[in-house]
Amino acid sequence: MASPRRIIRRGWRQLTSMRTALVLLFLLALAAVPGSLLPQRPLNPPKVQSYLDSHGSWGNFLDKIGAFDVFGSIWFVAVYLLLWLSLIGCLIPRITVYAKALRAKPIAAPRHLSRLSENAAFVTRLDPERAAAAVRSTLRPRWRNALRVEEQATGPNRLAISAEKGYSREAGNLVFHVSLLVALVLIAAGRLLSYQGSVIVQQGPGFCNTAPVYDSLHLGRAVSTEKLAKFCIDDLNSFVATYRPDGTAEQFKADVTYSQGLNGAPEHDVITVNHPLRLEGDRVYLLNHGFAPTVTVRSPDGRVTTDTETFLPQDAVYTSEGAFKFQGLGPNGTDLGIQGLFAPDPVDRGNGVIVSGSPQINNPVLAVIAFTGDTSLGDGVAQSVYSLNTSKMKQVGLQNLSLGTNGKYKNVMTLPDGTTITFDGYKQWVTLQVSHDPTQFALLIVAVLMVAGLLGSLAVRRRRLWVRLRVEDVEGSRTLVEVGGLARTDAGNFHTEFESVLAALRTALNAEPADLPVGISAGKD
């Protein structure tokens, strides 16, 4: 009967085998596939919803197994964790083995060097001790080597030098795998500790980094809303989009004033695409931009109300849609609502239908549909600021409003009750995203180590070399030098390398080696 301990031990051995690593890697790749083919909730919730709406029970089934949040699903995390454990399990023994190998001498020479794939023999007049010293000093900087005395039953002892190089291959490999291990931890920690919020800011006063200001906010599980870094984007001074003559975008620039800490002095920066504002621990990105038209409503009783609302771009040329809601400005205390379409560079498609021709401002037009009745704002049900709930309203007018030359309105829309609506200008707005991830710098370092480790692991080759020296003739004035080499990884150009080491050894043993006392001739013939 297998005891639980043995089962655990066997399970551990299984988990940490190379074969399991292969299977886990395969599962990891496989698990990621649906994450790219199905819409994902963290990336695009509306798309997930429309998939669910159109796929019925199949969609619900997919939802249940986490297919719309693959990278946060139980099974993805499970593979991730198993791989992590497996890595630990295979790394601990490999590190110990490597540490031992570093301290151990290169292994003793095999009995027959001539049977190795690379081998050679020659004769020198140096005696074995001196020859050994010369061999070792020739090999020394690149080859770790050790000298052994091989005792012989008959005749003089032989000397053997074992040399090995390419230790950094395994070192690189270990650096890579350990870095990978650390990276997996850092990535997981980053998910817990990071947050990301986005907010639309119109030209003018900005916001401070607190949870309620964000239009959307993703908080890591270990982040509390009170702990958000303290800084304010005090002002969006300007937003400028520049375009090339062919109409393509050239540059977007958001000029901001910001302050850090509780009473920080105001500072200045220009945020562009690819160039966020980097604060202590937080970054502020320019993600999107658009227009916020301004309208003025003049009621028959003399009240004048002005409002500017953010319109959302509907296409690449910034045809934008939005809504104005004026409570109590309709006839008899009802509400007045406006559905608007803003075209920065209007093109009339005939019968008054306007679209935008380009994202650049060029006599912009605000197409207005006016409604009166009940905006339902008082119902206590949350509704979008970008659209009008017209279920309890009736349409009272439709007109295209233009802007005059001097920044004032050009034409006036008059409603049946005498109320007038004018289009008085627009502001630019930008979407700013605030991101915080305390782990990312450490992760960068680890990533660099991973690449460095990989280079060591894949570029360095391990080679072994042995030199055996024995007295050849009776007088002892000649020494036979046998050399053998073995490629431990990917033979590659080992033959050439061996030949060049051999040439170096020949030179060192025939000529007079530099570190030998003067007067001992190595012989010239």
């Binding site: 292969l22 395969f26 994450g35 790219s36 393509t248 695409v273 991973m450 990989l454 490629a487």
Partner: protein, 362 residues
């Protein structure tokens, strides 16, 4: 500064010239393959033996023969150099055409870059051209290390030609970059990924040949065994090829390929070279994503497939070091990796929408 349309047109002409050059090279490679290597099968029959020895090594797991397997191949390489059948002239011509085509290809990209005053890899058309050029360059570099593979140029240049035509169908007018792409990370990230992909393309070609060859070697080893037992030992390796009517077309192709050892080596070395570059390229992408989108990784489809391909190539490297996974299985993993790269480029760019909209097609 506006786009220099004159230079842009010149670059397009050079694309056509490079494509034409590669076509001629393919013709010559075919010539070499058809005429030159007829004799090779016979002349390399001694080379066939060590290759077969290596097959029996992996079957019988005899440690003493393994050094000969590696050595046998490099001896074979020397032999091919010395015996010069007439087809070699075709081969040399093909090589010259490849180099010429490569130079024209390079100038096509350089001039395109000058015309738009930016790096010439800002859309799918340009990226495809870069990958093709890198494939040609890495093939030539591989030939410096393993010159005897030259006559396999057909199998590299055909895919390259396909890439050139693909680039043609993905053609995008020379334009400046949208703000999202205006970053020096475009130069760093895209060039490293393209470099890795060009090399991995050569690796995939070598792997297909490797798979064909190793199947062939299995068949030959089996039939050699049965022939020996039938007492017909005199015909040798070349003869045993001749008496195999049931080998099929794939195996007949196998007879003309170098030993599976050297093809495996070529496939491995190219991956070993490209994998760190690809890893770095993905990391550069993550750094860019941090600067552009506020997070280093967001499982955007492009990122997801880059990850999948990376993991598959890591599997390949592991498989080659794992008993029972070396050889054909590792080969299939290599091809799977290349399939993931291809999917990431074509399907993700064209079909699946994501943040990476540099395709220039939408």
């Amino acid at each position: 500064m506006a786009v220099n349309t004159g230079l842009a047109q010149l670059s397009e002409g050079l694309w056509a010239a490079a494509t034409g050059m590669y076509m001629l090279a393919v013709v010559c490679y075919t010539g070499e393959y058809a005429f030159g290597r007829k004799g090779k099968v016979a002349s390399t029959s001694p080379v066939g033996r060590p290759a077969m020895a290596s097959v029996s090594t992996s079957v019988g797991a005899g440690p003493t023969t393994s050094p000969t397997a590696g050595g046998g191949w490099s001896v074979g390489a020397g032999r091919i150099e010395t015996s010069r059948p007439s087809g070699d002239r075709w081969g040399v011509l093909a090589l010259v055409l490849t180099i010429l085509g490569g130079l024209i290809h390079l100038s096509c990209l350089v001039i395109r870059g000058v015309a738009v005053d930016r790096v010439p890899w800002g859309n799918m058309y340009e990226f495809t051209l870069v990958v093709g050029l890198i494939a040609v360059v890495s093939w030539l570099a591989l030939l410096i290390k393993l010159p005897s593979l030259r006559y396999l140029g057909l199998f590299v240049m055909l895919p390259v030609l396909l890439v050139m035509f693909l680039a043609g169908t993905l053609y995008t007018k020379a334009t400046k970059l949208v703000p999202a792409l205006q970053s020096y990370w475009l130069a760093i990230h895209v060039s490293s990924v393209a470099t890795a992909e060009g090399i991995l393309m050569v690796s995939a070609a070598m792997t297909i040949l490797f798979l064909i060859r190793s199947r062939y070697e299995r068949v030959v080893a089996l039939s050699a065994v049965s022939e020996l037992s039938a007492g017909d030992g005199a015909s040798g390796a070349g003869g045993s090829v001749a008496v195999q009517p049931d080998l099929g077309r794939i195996a007949r192709l196998g007879a003309r390929l170098p030993g599976s050892d050297s093809l495996d080596k070529a496939a491995y070395r190219t991956v070993a070279f490209a994998f760190p570059i690809y890893t770095a390229g993905v990391i550069f992408g993550a750094i860019w994503a941090e600067a552009a989108w506020g997070r280093y990784w967001g499982w955007d489809p492009k990122e997801t497939w880059a990850f999948i391909a990376w993991v598959i190539y890591a599997m390949y490297l592991h498989a080659r070091a794992t008993a029972g996974w070396k050889g054909s299985r590792a080969g299939y993993i290599n091809l799977l990796g290349f399939a993931a790269l291809t999917f990431n480029f074509f399907v993700v760019n064209i079909v699946i929408s994501g943040l990476h909209s540099y395709a220039g097609l939408n």
